[in-house]
């Protein structure tokens, strides 16, 4: 079968380290199979760069099927590219036109310093989780799983919040670089479930304050985060976080 191939022009952010100055470099990728994923296209570009004795474009990826949250950069001003509900590893070249110019930039936020090229440091997210994104139970004998009844509706809702892959697109797309969707999703999941209720006051307080201390911006209720979220997590999670916080402000304990 004859395959049609395509060519795209890339403008890629290159930055050798966190302290160095970055700049855009231009590359042309030719003879691409439209069924390639975007990352595979970059793999091909990199192979050429390596053969030419140049440094390949650094980017992170792992599962390449949209679940681990490792990949992510901004394509033409859109986190994870133009398709909704998609990570960049799930984006295919067929969603571009032959001859397109594509601008690729890393997530940009003070709390996500660039490590190299398109690779950023997202440790801040893990610190937000360690501030309270868990149920404080140890390992050991537990009551039978079915002794905690949770209606399907609640459990489905909790799942919607729990689907977050921690990729950071919400921060990247937010004009304020706010991490509210990420933080709100975990707070919401655990606030909905009976297991998470005993420590909800402490949790929301610690997680929100950690988010602030990490230097993320504040939510202006713009909702671009939801639009770019590969798991389409709703900003209702942010509203829920606010209710939880208000509750914590007013609670006695």
């Amino acid at each position: 079968m004859a395959q049609q191939t395509m060519t795209v022009h890339l403008k890629v952010w290159r930055q050798s380290g966190s302290d160095s100055q970055g700049r855009f470099e231009q590359y042309t990728a030719e003879d691409l199979n439209p069924h390639m994923s975007f990352l595979e296209m970059l793999d091909v570009v990199n192979e050429d760069l390596i053969h030419a004795g140049e440094d390949p474009i650094a980017f992170d990826s792992d599962c390449r099927e949209g679940i681990c949250g490792t990949c992510g950069f901004v394509i033409n001003g859109q986190a994870h590219g133009s398709e909704r509900g998609t990570t960049v590893c799930q984006l295919h070249m067929r969603s571009f036109n032959d001859g397109d110019t594509i601008v690729i930039e890393p997530w940009r936020a003070r709390s996500f310093p660039v490590i190299k090229d398109l690779v950023v440091d997202r440790d801040a997210f893990d610190r937000i989780i360690s501030a309270g994104g868990y149920v404080s139970v140890g390992t050991g004998p537990k009551p039978d799983a079915n002794s905690i009844k949770i209606g399907k509706d609640v459990s489905d809702k909790a799942f919607d919040s729990a689907a977050c892959i921690g990729c950071g697109a919400c921060v990247a797309a937010c004009p304020n670089a706010s991490a509210s969707l990420f933080t709100g999703a975990k707070i919401t999941q655990l606030a909905l479930l009976p297991q998470g209720k005993p420590e909800r006051t402490r949790r929301v307080q610690r997680m929100v304050h950690q988010m602030e201390d990490e230097g993320f911006g504040n939510c202006s209720n713009i909702g671009e985060c939801e639009a770019v979220c590969p798991k389409e997590i709703s900003i209702d999670n942010i509203a829920k976080m606010k209710r939880e916080y208000l509750r914590a402000m007013l609670s006695d304990t």
Binding site: Q3, N33, H35, D60, C68, D121, I129, V135, T139, L193
Partner: protein, 640 residues
């Protein structure tokens, strides 16, 4: 020669674990914090082990390659996790899960280990629920179950198609809680490159900081390896891009035996490769085979025709034809092998000719589109997204892909390797799945090891051996770090001049492995593969091209190091496969099949675990651990 001692407790199967727990020595609570434990890997096994040991009071250091422990490959598991809760009241029991696992593994696993796995399976579900893992539920609030992978009972718990993600996040969060409490120190973006032995005991590791390129030394009283499987030896697999065997292989080179390296599971329902640029393959849940019908054109001339133009009479529903009893639901290995045969015969479809159809036309006609959408909507969506073809209209194209490795570092009942102080958990060990793993049991095993076995057996080791502190200034650390440094320098110096990229060589290795050490193997092919691997290894060490520098973020250098190890491990896989003159589970030797073309096991000669000892001169030595079956009778699988 050391005799392999599995340290299996005596006594009846049902009491072995309890009895061992009672015998174990304990570390005094206030002494625990003086004991450092290293956990390498933060998948299900590693995260759960680190969380539990941190909580018990040990000073834990945890390491992972990814930028966050939450991204370990376990995150990608879709289908579910088994447990013998018997909530659906369909007759499940610990015994049944035990028996199914032993049989599914084609009688090549240890009874004691598997029984323990079945025993703790229920605790895993209780634990996960207590952590807030949002498993699927019924309207009344109870947990939902489904049957999976041809099991006759519904014992699989799931969280939509993201069970691995939710279980891992549960374990990850438990671990992050210990990070907050200062009990676990997390080191992300670190790759373990060697194990440090002091007087023959595992006392630390050397890691490379993947951001700065710096070498780092970490000492501990015990090292727990939870670094996952080696499916990426085949380059293309359903495993994540960074999955690797480096940590396990380097431990092997330091003396840990590698068991059953030839046992690899090849999953039948994956999205086929679309071109040479392909970097990984995507798995689709095997539940699709409940309603999809597998076929290829009868005539080679039809393979390029659009499928709807091929009339019913010209289609070969080969699984239904060959296995009338099980039809499209034959086990993974059988389905995979048959797809390969069809494609080898030139009947494969799609751009590369390496795919078979999985057709839902009849199911949609009989049950209606809505029903099918309800059952498989998300899978159809995923397929559509990747291939740009609508499976409601055109049959899916599928092809088998490497998915899971049953082999791994040899461990005893307490999950300790042949190196004292080195424990191995999760997919990285060989322990529970024999020659073939059943669906939904890897998650179970990872968490069983991490939550319920390792924390006790490591404690027992620390108490029993009375380990003394070593400092990272010890000369063993100097020597090991020098070895690692030398290898990196060697690679970088060849890499400057070389002409073939890491990926090019890696793809070649993948091809050799798929062709000769894949779904169907022959002695001749395996020997040829061995030769080719040796040649490729030479090519790597003479002509590999590696860009950039060693003192910073360098993905290709990382990958080169992993490839160097795969180039050695792959040879051992070929050797092991060629030594095992029988067919069992995922290991199919064409010379050993029944008249009907089914796997022919040879229990009289091969009912053992092959544990390989490393040899610098390329002549590894096999140690046999005979498998004794006291509780089950060896039988033959039949799906006709």
């Amino acid at each position: 020669m050391t005799k392999l001692d599995a340290r299996m407790p005596d006594g009846p199967l049902q009491q072995k674990w309890e009895q061992r727990l009672e015998e174990m020595k304990l570390v005094a609570p206030n002494n625990k914090k003086k004991h450092d434990v290293i956990v390498v890997g933060t998948g299900l096994a590693g995260a759960s082990a680190a969380a539990t040991m941190g909580e018990l009071g040990y000073s834990v250091k945890a390491f992972c390659i990814q930028d966050s422990p939450r991204r370990a490959h376990s995150i990608a598991a879709q289908g579910g996790i088994n447990a013998t809760k018997n909530y659906p009241n369909d007759g499940d029991s610990i015994w049944r899960l035990f028996y199914d696992t032993i049989k599914g593994g084609d009688f090549r696993s240890r009874e004691g280990n598997v029984y323990r796995l079945a025993q703790v399976s229920n605790h895993i579900i209780d634990q996960a629920v207590a952590q807030g893992v949002p498993f699927a539920r019924e309207y009344g609030g109870d947990l939902a179950n489904r049957s999976f992978g041809g099991a006759q009972v519904s014992r699989t718990f799931y969280a939509r198609g993201q069970t691995g993600q939710q279980l891992l996040l549960g374990a990850f969060q438990a671990m992050m809680r210990q990070v907050d409490r200062g009990k676990v120190k997390m080191y992300p973006r670190r790759e373990m490159l060697d194990l440090v032995l002091v007087d023959g005991v595992a006392r630390g590791i050397i890691t490379r900081n993947l951001v700065t390129g710096e070498m780092e030394r970490h000492a501990a009283d015990a090292v727990v390896l939870c670094t996952g499987g080696y499916g990426r030896t085949y380059f293309l697999s359903t495993n994540a891009f960074n999955s690797n065997a480096t940590a396990a292989w380097r431990c092997h080179k330091r003396g840990a035996y590698f068991a059953n390296p030839c046992y690899v599971q090849i999953h039948p329902t994956c999205i086929p490769q679309s071109g040479d640029y392909q970097s990984k393959l995507t798995l689709m849940s095997e539940s699709l085979r409940n309603d999809g019908r597998v076929w290829v054109p009868k005539d080679e001339a039809d393979v390029d025709k659009p499928p709807h133009q091929i009339p019913e009479s010209e289609r070969d529903y080969y699984l239904e034809r060959k296995y009338p009893a099980f039809g499209n639901l034959v086990p993974r290995d059988v389905a995979s092998r048959n797809a390969k045969y069809m494609c080898d015969k030139g009947l494969g479809v799609g751009a590369t000719g390496r795919a078979v159809y999985l057709d839902f036309r009849d199911a949609i006609e009989e049950q209606g589109r809505d029903v099918i959408e309800d059952k498989y909507g998300n899978l159809f969506h995923m397929y559509h997204k990747i291939t740009d073809e609508d499976p409601y209209e055109v049959p899916m194209r599928i092809y088998p892909a490497v998915h899971y490795t049953m082999g791994g570092l040899w461990v005893d009942y307490e999950l300790m390797s042949t190196i004292p102080g080195l424990f191995v958990a999760g997919e990285a060990n060989f322990s529970d799945h024999g020659a073939n793993r059943l669906g939904a049991s890897a998650l179970m095993q990872g968490l069983a090891d991490g939550y319920f076995v390792i924390p006790f057996t490591v404690g027992n080791f620390i108490a029993e051996y009375d380990v003394q502190k070593v400092s990272t200034d010890h000369k063993a650390f100097d020597a090991t770090e020098d070895d690692v440094q030398d290898q990196i320098e060697r690679m970088m110096s060849i890499g400057k001049e070389g002409s073939r990229t890491v990926i090019e060589i890696y793809r070649d290795l993948g091809k050799i492995m798929y062709d000769q050490v894949g779904m169907s193997r022959t002695k001749e092919g395996l020997e040829q593969a061995r030769e080719e691997i040796v040649g490729l290894r030479e090519e790597f060490w003479n002509d590999v091209k590696i860009p950039g520098r060693a003192d910073g973020y360098n993905k290709m250098l990382e990958l080169a190091g992993r490839l160097a190890d795969f180039l050695e491990l792959s040879e051992l896989m070929a050797i092991d496969a060629s030594e095992r003159d029988e067919s069992c589970g995922g290991h199919f030797r064409e010379e050993y099949q029944t008249d009907e073309g089914e796997a022919l096991r040879r229990d009289d000669e091969f009912c053992y675990v092959a544990a390989w000892e490393y040899d610098e001169d390329g002549d590894p030595k096999m140690h046999k651990e005979e498998l004794e079956f006291e509780n089950v009778e060896l039988s033959t699988r039949s799906y006709k």
